[in-house]
């Protein structure tokens, strides 16, 4: 009887361990940054989740539906900023607004901080494009450093715009094309 119970407990434990191990195994090969492309990339819908990587001298955004590549030498400006977004967003977020007793309003108080990465680049015809990405807090600055080290240009030096946009020097803020 005791043996049977022990065996059952062991199976349960192995099952739970296996279940929890799966996501971590799945996360390992995903190199690069998990981002949301807010707008700007041709052929990619707004607010599409994907992976942003730097490969072979180009900035690559890959989602389940599309893969877009931007040569790093064509990137004219990289700017990082901080923002926040609702934890419950999208369709569910909208539906919570109609929840009874003001619970939707209460839920909208829950917000998560995010980093935004804004880039400007030129296409082969010289046309100016812009793209906005959001990513987990603290990811944008290291990514920008990598991008700049590989040849991208920026109007605000990397060491000066870590943190929020409020910490930018006046000279940097004045820059507009």
């Amino acid at each position: 009887m005791v043996l049977r119970t022990m065996r059952r407990a062991t199976f349960c434990l192995v099952g739970i361990l296996g279940f929890t191990a799966l996501p971590s195994v799945a996360q390992q090969p995903a190199a690069g940054n998990k981002v949301v492309q807010v707008t700007g990339l041709a052929g990619v819908k707004a607010n599409t989740s994907g992976n942003l990587t730097l490969e072979n001298g180009s900035l690559q955004f890959a989602s389940s539906a599309a893969k877009v590549s931007v040569p790093i030498h064509s990137v004219e400006d990289v700017i990082t900023e901080n923002d926040s977004q609702r934890v419950f967003r999208g369709t569910i977020g909208t539906l919570t607004m109609f929840a009874p007793y003001g619970s939707g309003r209460f839920l909208s108080l829950f917000r998560s901080k995010i980093d935004t990465l804004t880039i400007q680049f030129r296409d082969t015809d010289g046309g100016l494009h812009g793209a906005i990405f959001t990513m987990a807090l603290g990811k944008a600055d290291p990514f920008k450093k990598n991008l700049v080290s590989q040849g991208a240009r920026t109007s605000i030096p990397v060491q000066d715009d870590s943190g929020s946009s409020n910490t930018k020097p006046d000279a940097a803020k004045e820059k507009k094309p």
Binding site: T39, Q85, R86, G104, S108, H129, G130, P177
Partner: protein, 173 residues
């Protein structure tokens, strides 16, 4: 009694339907200055206002998307596009941000009445030689639902409509 009421109502309706078209030409906008088959959108500038980069890019990209969506122009060129040099009847859109108030999505969600985000943009349409053909102040705002960047979409829709109504060579498309 019922019949009189019926006749009176009918007469009022008939008069109204005849009077409406007569009033319309008086309310109609002045005729457009020039039709163009192509439009070039320049990057949004903000000399006096400190505009976050994400808003600047979002304004620019939404503007181009909305102009393409509205139709009426054979080509919508971006700033710096070399193909625009060969376009004969080109109109160029310069946009300058004159006012910006970054609201709060949380405040909008919680209070409904506060936290509005608004952007005031001065739009100037010029011909290829730089001569101004139309100037207008437009506003983009988000009052209830959505993130702050939604204000840029609101502006883009208004600007695209303005361009379409005044310059589109093929307004039906």
């Amino acid at each position: 009694m019922k019949r009189t009421l019926y006749i009176t109502t009918l007469a009022v309706l008939l008069l109204g339907s005849h009077a409406a078209p007569a009033r319309l030409p008086a309310q109609a906008a002045p005729p457009p200055a020039k039709k163009a088959s192509a439009i070039q959108v320049l990057m949004i500038t903000s000399d006096e206002i400190k505009l976050p980069a994400e808003f600047q890019i979002s304004l620019y990209e939404n503007l181009i998307q909305q102009l393409e969506k509205q139709g009426g122009f054979r080509h919508v060129y971006r700033e710096g596009d070399r193909n625009a040099d060969g376009a004969a009847d080109l109109v160029v859109l310069h946009s300058t941000v004159r006012g910006f108030k970054k609201g709060s999505e949380m405040a909008r969600n919680v209070t409904t009445v506060s936290g509005k985000t608004s952007i005031d943009v001065h739009c100037q349409f010029t011909d290829k030689d730089g001569k101004s053909v139309l100037e207008r102040d437009l506003n983009g705002k988000v009052q209830f639902f959505g993130g702050n960047l939604r204000a840029t979409l609101d502006f883009a829709k208004k600007a695209a409509k303005l361009a379409h109504d005044n310059f589109a060579a093929n307004p039906v498309s």
